[in-house]
């Protein structure tokens, strides 16, 4: 039952009707629309939601709104008019309580170092506190002027000191001595490890050919990914598996094939309307930064959030579009229909700078807004309002997220969005979606494919049917599964996994697990034992970002480069991934493509800047791209926005996005009556760090969200462990009620495994792993994604965490 509360917030009187289970933090977001007071950990550890109540600092995430009745509340918004840090923010932790050490400050030798956070691809500029050779604290870098606003949860502060000194950290090379996956290991020397890898890889190359050895690479942190690609080129294998099927190419390629370039939201001149489509940008940065949001809101920037989930930005958005998972392309087509039929597009652009506009306009007649509403579950009035607001607010920009990329209809969805950006005249204008010119450093592509080494050839590659993937230098994961389980078109013999945990991150985890067991020789570079490392023949212990000198150039679309200097020593015999690859390459006789010392590669990367690594680290730390704002400068074959692409047509793909293509969605059935999508918990980084206590105490269990009405019909209670089943498999997660969620939608958490389950079960990879529910068939023809968003599923009561 709602209760009325009256309170003073930043000097003004307010009255709200609140539910007992609402916290003060939720009221400050949803009613006051505050952008600065945020939910971080939500359990009182991070301090992000702190406010001053009647003169005392309290955490508003653990304060019931009803208890704030009659109180005087002061928030960060009331303290500071600038999007800068107020002394109060610093004062949250005046007694060094967040330092990861039990020693009294001042007892040990101390240093402070500037670098960039290594955890997610936001790469905030940070100041690292080191005591006695150990990282003890991480604070925002308030001195350099680089983007520094840490994620609300302050994930680096809560986890980096713990990761670096974790008792389970791998410290020595290991070789398997038991059955594969049995968890029996023997410590070996680096010499033995390198010799074994060299001889096995060479043997396979000589007997079968280089393509029988696969490289499996994850999201780049420093230069490891680039070293892995370069090794593949030097060794001669075409089979490099990367997350490209789910991130990057599914958006970049449609953009390039529509307007000639990849585009990003202009953060130098901010848009007047920002669309955040399928990502939780406030918590995980890979595009628009938190600073940009705060500045934008101050300037009156409008915000539209497209997400099935009530992410925290949905609370402060002008419009929240609660879309059916997988319905993104249909929504984009609906927006195009309104923009075209109401003539809300930019006439000059359409008339002089597009190819195929009339065909698209004609195609719009083949479906109605009722159809769009039916598919997207978004009321048509909202679609019309969205289209009008987007088309009439200039400049406007769209920040897209991975959620849009992770379905077989990914390519056409993103083509439709690219066309929408183009015909509304938002491309390459100040505050719109812009093309960036690289900062001066060696292009990653040049690094991947050194002169003289073999370039990739589709002829011998796995997954050659995925032509966009082939052009983007990766093979989608499903092709690896088919190779190993069906021998199609040939069966891989060996793999080297770097930066990745395929059992968690590849679609169809059961098939991936079986596939990896088929490998004759598996090498995994890792920080900790993981489900994938548990299956390896050789496990190599790696140094983390702060434990060696490196450069960060990812995310690639940001076109910047950063210095991540060495700050502390790595434990035991850990080596950087780059050193491991470099040493294996030298041993294999591929030294001509590599360096005597892997750190020399850093100078090579920086050559175009005229600086070496030391100078760069001292003087610049970061080089950023430039904006040309060259209006109507499209790098397509026609020099125009190609709504109709002959290039794609010649490749055998649809030349224009169509209603049929974007709406070919899996349907709910009687057997599987709900639609499953997934989210990544703010506390973790993808599948990583489930054994870090400071993070695990924030999100202890995997959770699945359902609308309470749906749950009650199924006889489920909040907090129950429930089974989530698709035609591909079954997992268990804990049930949360989310009243705002569409009654047909279920949202499960991604990337779960249980280090505490131990090696017998390969660390519990089967229990709650979302990818047990995805399939490796029915993938996108362009980039190789299977259905990850909007999978028909059913939910029932489980006996406990084990199903």
């Amino acid at each position: 039952m709602k209760q009325t509360i009256r309170l003073t917030i930043n000097g003004g009187p307010y009255e709200f009707a609140v539910e007992p289970n609402q916290t003060l933090m939720e009221i400050l977001r949803s009613e006051m629309k505050y952008g600065g007071t945020k939910e971080g950990c939500s359990v009182g550890k991070c301090g992000t939601c702190a406010v001053i109540m009647n003169g005392k600092t309290v955490t508003s995430c653990l304060l019931l709104a009803v208890e704030a009745d009659g109180k005087n509340i002061l928030t960060t918004e009331g303290l500071s008019g600038e999007a800068e840090f107020h002394p109060f923010h610093e004062a949250f932790t005046p007694e060094g309580v967040m330092r990861a050490t039990s020693d009294t400050p001042g007892m040990k030798s101390r240093g402070e170092y500037f670098t960039f956070c290594h955890l997610c691809c936001g790469h905030c500029s940070i100041k690292v506190g080191v005591e006695d050779g150990k990282v003890v604290d991480i604070a925002p870098d308030m001195e350099s002027g680089f983007p520094n606003e840490l994620c609300p949860l302050k994930k680096s502060r809560l986890s980096v000191p713990d990761i670096l000194t974790h008792p389970d950290r791998l410290q020595y090379p290991l070789k398997r001595v038991g059955e594969r996956g049995e968890g029996k290991w023997q410590r070996i020397s680096w010499d033995e490890a390198l010799d074994t890898i060299t001889s096995r890889f060479t043997e396979i190359k000589e007997q079968h050919g280089p393509d029988y050895v696969a490289m499996c690479l994850g999201e780049p942190k420093g230069m490891e990914f680039a070293f892995g690609q370069r090794f593949a080129s030097a060794f001669g294998t075409n089979n490099v598996f990367t997350p490209g099927w789910s991130c990057g190419p599914p958006n970049a390629s449609p953009s390039i094939n529509t307007c000639g370039w990849n585009m990003v939201v202009d953060e130098t001149h901010r848009p007047n309307l920002l669309v955040v489509w399928g990502l939780n940008i406030n918590h995980m940065s890979w595009g628009v930064r938190r600073e940009t949001l705060v500045e934008g809101f101050k300037e009156g920037m409008k915000l539209i959030v497209v997400d099935p989930r009530r992410i925290d930005l949905a609370d402060i958005a002008d419009m929240w579009i609660k879309i059916r998972p997988g319905g993104d392309g249909a929504l984009a087509m609906g927006l195009l229909k309104v923009v075209i039929e109401e003539k809300l597009y930019d006439e000059d652009t359409v008339k002089n700078w597009t190819v195929g506009f009339d065909q698209l306009a004609e195609h719009m007649k083949t479906f109605s807004l009722e159809d769009v509403e039916r598919v997207t579950l978004v009321p048509r009035q909202q679609i019309i309002a969205f289209a009008r607001l987007y088309a009439t607010t200039k400049p406007a920009a769209i920040q897209w997220g991975n959620a849009v990329d992770q379905n077989p209809n990914q390519y056409q969805n993103n083509r439709a969005t690219a066309i929408l950006r183009g015909i509304t005249g938002n491309l390459n204008t100040k505050g719109g979606d812009v093309f960036l010119t690289n900062a001066p450093f060696t292009r990653p592509g040049r690094f991947y494919f050194p002169a003289g080494a073999k370039s990739r050839s589709t002829a011998n590659s796995l997954g050659q049917e995925y032509k966009i993937a082939m052009n983007s230098a990766y093979v989608p994961a499903p092709a690896m599964i088919r190779s190993l389980l069906e021998g199609e078109p040939y069966k891989l013999k060996a793999a080297w996994v770097i930066l990745s945990d395929p059992i968690l991150s590849y679609p169809d985890a059961d098939a991936t697990f079986e596939a990896f067991k088929q490998l004759e020789f598996l090498v995994v570079n890792e920080l900790f034992m993981t489900p994938t490392a548990a299956l390896a023949d050789i496990v190599l212990p790696v140094a983390w970002g702060m434990e060696h000198n490196e450069l960060g150039y990812w995310p690639g679309w940001q076109k910047q480069i950063r210095a991540h200097p060495k700050i502390v020593d790595a434990p035991g015999e850990c080596w950087p991934d780059t050193k491991i690859v470099n040493e294996v390459a030298k041993k294999m006789g591929l030294g001509e493509y590599f360096w005597e010392d892997d750190e020399e590669a850093l100078d090579y990367m920086l050559e175009p800047s005229g600086m070496d690594f030391d100078e760069f680290k001292q003087k610049k730390r970061q080089l950023v791209p430039t904006h040309g704002y060259r209006k109507h400068h499209y790098g397509t074959p026609s020099g125009k926005i190609e709504i109709y692409s002959e290039k794609l047509e010649k490749m055998g793909y649809a030349p224009m996005p169509t209603w049929e293509l974007v709406t070919a969605l899996p349907e709910m059935t009687e057997e599987f009556p709900l639609l499953l999508s997934n989210f990544k918990e703010e506390a973790y980084v993808l599948s990583g760090y489930k054994h870090v206590a400071s993070l695990r105490s924030i999100r202890p269990q995997p959770t699945v969200e359902l609308n309470p009405e749906t749950a009650e019909k199924l006889g489920l209670r909040e907090g129950d462990w429930v089974n989530i089943e698709t035609k591909n498999g079954k997992i268990s997660q804990q049930l949360y009620f989310t009243p705002e969620l569409h009654p047909k939608v279920a949202l499960a958490s991604f990337g779960w495994w249980f280090p505490e389950d131990g090696p017998e079960t390969q660390y519990g990879w089967k229990r709650a792993n979302l990818n047990v529910l995805t399939e490796h068939e029915n993938t996108s023809k362009e980039c190789g994604s299977p259905w990850c968003r909007g999978i028909p599923c059913r939910i029932s009561k489980a006996e406990g965490p084990n199903g």
């Binding site: 039952m1 209760q3 539910e19 007992p20 289970n21 609402q22 916290t23 939720e26 939910e39 939500s42 359990v43 009182g44 550890k45 301090g47 702190a50 005392k56 600092t57 309290v58 955490t59 653990l62 304060l63 019931l64 009803v66 208890e67 949250f92 932790t93 005046p94 007694e95 060094g96 309580v97 967040m98 330092r99 990861a100 050490t101 039990s102 000191p161 713990d162 008792p167 054994h691 870090v692 206590a693 400071s694 695990r696 105490s697 202890p700 269990q701 959770t703 209670r717 909040e718 907090g719 804990q734 049930l735 949360y736 009620f737 989310t738 280090p755 505490e756």
Partner: protein
């Protein structure tokens, strides 16, 4: 993370609270500072989830701290950690309690977290428990049928479990005045000072002319409940205290501890830390007595 739904009740008198708690039993939970209860509810780790949340902060007489040279220290269940840590009398006469309250989490949590909540939450790591146990503190538990007094060391029956019955409330903590020539120390080992203790150690010690006449040693996060290590206590009582004896006492305390593995630390590591902290706590106590502190 949203809280699950519940009905919110605010009894204005203690009798009203009793009848609510008796009526709803396990379906009701008492809300004091909320820093443990609401986290558990957000994590859906209290099953069944409470249908009623009973805020006791409107009940008069539960929020006070008083010190009397005769009676000692009395703390109402709703006193916050920040209030306890800041009060001069506590810092002066009950230093281990001031240390423990001051080491609990962050300032903004200390402004909310109450001592009654810290005890009733009954975490094996309960920050104030070792200091209170070694100070011979008792709690006043009240209910419809009257009140009873229970020593803090007898309060806990298991992780999250206490002797408090349905319909009862923990109303007050009473700490007797320390003996002359005695002091108390609380030390904590955690990854961060703001983190839950990996190991917490409370020691109280009374000295007479170089001889230990009384001692209590209690541990947190070293067993299913906060616990005393009596063999270690017996070893030091009646003895002249020197380096060798301190080492032996610390070793025995560690042997008596019953920690487990969890994500924060392995049991073995905890046992090692018990040795270090018990030794250090005794030394700090002796030092305080020599310097003529409390």
């Amino acid at each position: 993370m949203q809280l699950p739904k519940f009905e919110y009740l605010t009894p204005g008198t203690i009798d009203e609270a009793f009848s609510i708690l008796l009526e709803y039993g396990d379906n009701a939970r008492v809300l004091a500072g909320g820093t443990d209860l609401l986290v558990k509810m957000k994590h859906r780790s209290l099953i069944p989830l409470p249908e009623y949340v009973v805020n006791i902060k409107k009940i008069p007489g539960l929020n006070f701290i008083s010190y009397d040279e005769e009676e000692g220290l009395r703390i109402g269940a709703l006193a916050t950690m920040q209030e306890i840590k800041s009060l001069l009398a506590v810092r002066q006469y009950f230093p281990s309690l001031a240390q423990a309250a001051g080491l609990l989490s962050t300032p903004q949590i200390r402004n909310m977290a109450t001592i009654g909540g810290n005890l009733c939450n009954a975490s094996p790591a309960a920050e104030t428990a070792p200091a209170l146990i070694t100070s011979a503190a008792t709690v006043k538990i009240v209910g419809q049928s009257g009140e009873r007094t229970v020593a803090v060391e007898d309060l806990f029956t298991g992780p999250g479990e206490t002797v408090i019955q349905k319909g009862e409330l923990l109303a007050e903590i009473q700490v007797p005045n320390p003996l002359p020539n005695s002091t108390g120390v609380y030390l904590k080992h955690g990854k961060r000072l703001s983190d839950i203790a990996i190991v917490g150690v409370g020691v109280s010690i009374t000295m007479d002319d170089g001889v230990c006449t009384d001692a209590k040693i209690a541990l947190a996060s070293a067993g299913p409940t906060p616990m005393r290590v009596r063999r270690a206590e017996e070893l030091i009582k009646g003895q002249k205290v020197g380096q060798e004896l301190i080492e032996e006492v610390a070793k025995i305390a560690s042997e008596e501890s019953k920690p487990m593995d969890d994500l924060r630390a392995y049991a073995e590591y905890r046992k090692e830390k018990v040795v270090v902290l018990v030794g250090e706590a005794i030394k700090q106590g002796l030092q305080q007595i020599r310097l003529g502190g409390s």
